[in-house]
Subunit: 364 residues, 2 copies
Amino acid sequence: PANKKLLVLPGDGIGPEVMREVRRVLDWLDRRRHVTFDIEEGLVGGAAIDAEGHPCPDTTMEKAQRADAILFGSVGGPKWDSLPFENRPELGILRLRKDLGLFANLRPAIVWSPLAQASSLKADLVDGLDLMIVRESTGGIYFGEPRGIETMANGMRRGFDTESYTEEEITRVARVGFELARKRSNRLTSVEKANVMQSGRFWREIVTAVHKAEFADVELSHMYADNCAMQLASRPKQFDVILASNLFGDVLSDLAAAVTGSLGMLPSATLGAPDASGRRHALYEPIHGSAPDIAGKGIANPCAQMLSFAMLLRWSFGMDEDAQLIEKAVEKVLAGGLRTADIMVPGAARVGTSVMGEAVVREL
Amino acid sequence: PANKKLLVLPGDGIGPEVMREVRRVLDWLDRRRHVTFDIEEGLVGGAAIDAEGHPCPDTTMEKAQRADAILFGSVGGPKWDSLPFENRPELGILRLRKDLGLFANLRPAIVWSPLAQASSLKADLVDGLDLMIVRESTGGIYFGEPRGIETMANGMRRGFDTESYTEEEITRVARVGFELARKRSNRLTSVEKANVMQSGRFWREIVTAVHKAEFADVELSHMYADNCAMQLASRPKQFDVILASNLFGDVLSDLAAAVTGSLGMLPSATLGAPDASGRRHALYEPIHGSAPDIAGKGIANPCAQMLSFAMLLRWSFGMDEDAQLIEKAVEKVLAGGLRTADIMVPGAARVGTSVMGEAVVREL
Ligand SMILES: CC(C)[C@H](C(=O)O)[C@@H](O)C(=O)O
Ligand SMILES: CC(C)[C@H](C(=O)O)[C@@H](O)C(=O)O
């Protein structure tokens, strides 16, 4: 069979540094399994603005269209902060999501026991936490039309956006959520503001219908977004899978990540719909940003990027076993007491990016 | 001068029980200061649906228009959960906000030292927490038009809402935020998603302009809503005043409340614009809901309702000293070891609603 096509988009800030550690894992895979990947590299974010004048140029989109999976680093930094809205590094990731139809953003929030102390929450409230947020990622207020800043008839200016969800958009992301729940603890919490938003009422109606028609075996509950934020901050372990719109999913998944206390450890996947041949676009990225303040210092935590690669192996190539080996290796390194600065605790050994990366590969 | 007109709207669930304790404070005020209030009572929420077929009937609106201040309990319960959207108890509070022009919702998140242990966060991260969220409460996606559920030309259905903010709406709520910041630690964090929403870009533009023109002495920063959720869950004490739209403010203020660990302790105020004579509509309510599961059992915490009344004295009648006396009395009762069930800790004395209320009045 043809080699698997991998597109690597390191991006800005610490992106290129942490991506380098993934190369070690790729080498290990090469040696171990004689799996080879065709690896292309591409530009995105500020790096792409500097080189080609656009945060996600067509050259990158062409590579992305061809790739079986995309490993994304992170984008943005003070250098590009004052650019106009239409040309910000963030638009790199938004274009990739939209143009590749990556509608299901999977955001695990996991607390590895050795890191339970790192959380701002009391350790027993988060120890063993393992929840998954399924965030819709090509619709809603992120892309809804009409939107803009305009002067109204009375001379007053206003800014406006449209939150909009079709039946089809809700159905397909709900299916991803329910299917995931089935593979986990079989519980799904669907989040909206059905008490104030029409799109929220509609969201609840469609999720309920999909549940009844196809997933009646999964335990479904509905929760308002404000309550969900409260529950995540107070009793996060009550959740298994959380399903939310683009906007609520953005806020709640970052909140869940913060609750774990170790942002530098969390990967994510964003999946498209399978085509007739079963092929689906997919992009994997750590949830941490480009962290310009520590970029170039060799102290960033490479784990989230490595774990994003593990998710890629699992979701895009069905290589569950290899994914697990990587996850276990990371866990062992943590249990062994190595820590990058972001997850440092008294008594642990503080190491830099490459020592951490090497240690993971040694465990492998 | 004419007596101050107070409208009391107990609502549903624990609303009437906790409101009863406020009567004791009113009696104390009567005795102490010879201040008398003209007190009217009205129906709202499920209670109003049952009696008059509407969650906020015109009879209640007329009383509300006349009142100098409104003390609100809480609305909702399983009995009314299956009612159509247009007739839910929640619409009671939404109509009051909209029709009275109550555009500035003030949501303090305070941790009293004796209660720092009640938080899900580590005690040192929340001990002494004292932040204020200023949430816009008559605009944005809560009321924006067009909105609805419709069948499109292609036969597909969709649900949609409009987020919209005019320059005037942003300006007036920003002013409330900046003025508050001046009375506090002089720092304001304005929250939006200017990186993906046009209304967010516009929000940032207007807040920046108001700051430059009128409040340059206040330290202003801008934060994305997802990041703000993260920061509230991990380092809440970094904030002084947070300014946000209706929707972000809803989620973030509930999150901040959860972070304190004592929802039963938190009041809120929602203020309108002063008219030519300086009179402004204002509504005060605890942030906890109607808690139907414990309603009628006499175990609900009356503190939030009593503290809402303290806010009322301060904001509507300039009775700062009396407000402080009530706040201090609550603090002393807590320090003395009395606790209702929701804030119970080992070693404290567990009491019901009326013992708690009596104890506060005794301290007074
Ligand atoms: C960079 C930004 C546009 C993006 C978003 O809001 O979706 C980010 O916060 C995320 O969650 O991936
Ligand atoms: C009851 C509901 C409509 C309301 C809101 O979403 O504004 C509540 O959550 C609040 O924050 O006061």
